[in-house]
């Protein structure tokens, strides 16, 4: 009876909006107390996170992303991609997708992309003849588009929580990420305004833009070559990336001042990182308790009655994760849900790397799933539009992303061919 009251109380506080790290701590404290374990075990679980060698990648990559977002880097990269891709049908919209994916990969889809780039991209799309509805939908969808590209923060967090090699996850996510980009690019081409002025590729303009932005444009390539060329580990890549971005934005481009801007950006980025790491610390105790109590095994036994094979499980998993994605943000979902679904998925014969990609692709869609997908609110806030208008605008993009998700889920080779 008391367990039921405690569960009800925790659920009540959760929907009320109590910070998730408090909820997870409370759940762990209550669970440990009920099972007679000393509550100091909760603090011990906290401390365990400080021994993870890849932990430092989270603040460093996030700092790099925030430094770039706060500099004039979005303008430079936008100019470069426009000069390179703007001549194609739907080119401007594809430019928006590419630049947003670049920034989301570094900032972890925390809303920064929509805030930092939305204001730049929206007028360009509308001026080029795209409808307002399309522009709003594209920006909302683009806000989480780079989640599957290295050095995406959710991938790093997933690797930490699921104890899967982060560099393997980076590699596995590239092709599924490209599938999503291609599907959305085709939609951009289909929607390209017939009336817009035909642009031509001008080599001189492209080189001028490249000269301006090359220091930033080489960054994702540098990270990939560094890690997969065996030159640096993921942790070292994070340190180099953050240091490199710091030096170019402060001392070379001089977009950010060392005294005023850098401390402000550090504080902004670390508020996000602090929130994520606190949830990670607090959730470890509770999720380990659930695993110790063999809760996933019990859920699996129950599922086995209704789900007979891998494919029916994958279908159920997708629906479950889409619901999770529109209720929870991606970081909380990774920390809370992943430890529970990993053992169940393993029983159904799903590779942990493929599971990671399915999970992240689902959560990417969750960002724009009504009623509470966070990108919908950020776009509504940023452009001062009613939320229902944003629902309508992003609906076609959501459908396309679900099609991409089905492809990623049922063709595991897209993620796994690297490892065969």
């Amino acid at each position: 009876m008391s367990a039921l009251i405690a569960t009800g109380g925790i659920l009540f506080l959760t929907v009320l909006g109590v910070p998730l790290f408090i909820i997870m701590s409370l759940a762990a404290l209550v669970a440990f107390s009920f099972s007679g374990v000393q509550i100091s075990a909760v603090a011990q679980e906290f401390y365990r996170i400080s021994s993870a060698p890849t932990l430092v990648t989270i603040p460093l990559f996030t700092l790099a992303g925030y430094l770039m977002a706060e500099s004039r880097s979005p303008q430079r990269l936008l100019r470069l991609t426009e000069a390179g891709l703007g001549w194609m049908p739907g080119g401007i919209s594809i430019v928006a997708l590419v630049v947003c994916a670049f920034f989301t990969a570094f900032t972890g889809a925390s809303g920064v992309t929509i805030i930092a780039l939305g204001g730049l991209i929206y007028p360009i799309l509308v001026k080029d003849g795209y409808s307002e509805k399309y522009a709003l939908g594209a920006i909302t969808a683009s806000g989480s588009l780079g989640l599957l590209f290295p050095p995406s923060l959710p991938i790093i967090l997933y690797g930490l929580v699921a104890k899967v090699d982060i560099d393997k996850l980076f590699k596995a996510a590239i092709v599924p990420g490209m599938v999503i980009m291609i599907i959305l690019s085709l939609y951009s081409i289909y929607n390209s305004p017939k009336s817009s002025v035909k642009k031509t590729f001008v080599l001189k303009n492209f080189f001028a833009a490249l000269k301006d932005a090359w220091l930033e444009a080489i960054l994702p390539i540098g990270v990939l070559v560094g890690i997969y060329g065996g030159y640096v580990t993921v942790t070292e890549a994070a340190a180099f990336t953050a240091f490199y971005v710091f030096v170019i934005e402060v001392f070379i481009y001089r977009d950010l001042s060392l005294n005023k801007d850098v401390p402000r950006v550090i504080i902004e980025s670390m508020s996000l990182v602090g929130g994520i790491l606190l949830i990670l610390c607090c959730a470890l105790g509770f999720t380990n308790f659930l695993v110790d109590e063999e809760i996933p095994t019990k859920i699996f036994a129950l599922m086995k009655i209704y789900l007979t094979d891998k494919y029916s499980f994958l279908f159920f998993l997708n629906i479950f994760l889409l619901i999770v994605g529109c209720l929870m943000d991606i970081f909380s979902a990774i920390i809370v849900v992943v430890p529970l679904i990993i053992p169940i998925s393993a029983e159904f014969g799903i590779d942990p790397i493929h599971l990671a990609i399915i999970f992240l692709a689902n959560l990417e869609i969750g960002y724009l799933t009504p009623p509470v997908g966070i990108n919908l609110f950020i776009t509504s806030f940023r452009f001062k539009k009613p939320i229902t208008e944003i629902y309508r605008a992003s609906f076609p993009f959501m459908i396309l992303l679900i099609i991409a998700l089905m492809i990623i889920t049922y063709i595991p080779d897209l993620s796994m061919f690297w490892f065969k």
């Binding site: 959760t14 009320l16 701590s25 906290f46 603040p59 850098v262 602090g274 949830i279």
Partner: protein, 164 residues
Amino acid sequence: MGIVRKIDWAVDKLSSHLLVVSVLVILVFSTLSIVLRWFHINLQWIEPMVRHLVFVCAFLGGVLATGKGTHIGIDLVGKFVEAQNWHNLKTWIARLIMFSSFGVLLWLIKAGIDFTIIEREFTKDAGLGVLQSGDLVAIIPIGLSLIALRFFLLLILSFEGDKI
């Protein structure tokens, strides 16, 4: 309320400054350790120091997120209440959130102190010179205390105006 506001301001400033210094130290030393390795110089204390500084940053970032109200949560009721423009109810929900968060944090601080006492009894080398594992785990109760203090101060300040 003036003194409460000043304490809240001081906690915010202290946390912000410590956070900026910690992040810059992490950045410089992480890069330095890689560069030094090229010259076959291995300073073994850098890695545990950086890891523990990241741990410190988690709490300091938490203090700032508390002040800004940007902690991650599943705010279903809050969003609904906001959409209905029920300002009074929203204010009381915010107070309830702060009060319950403060209460849970006190329980967590107790867990942190218990753990620190146990760890100090069986303290071991943490690779950071004079600092032993028993000293380093004190980051947990101290960090949690700062967050709890912030929730408490904000709760008091919430009674200053009509809205939060």
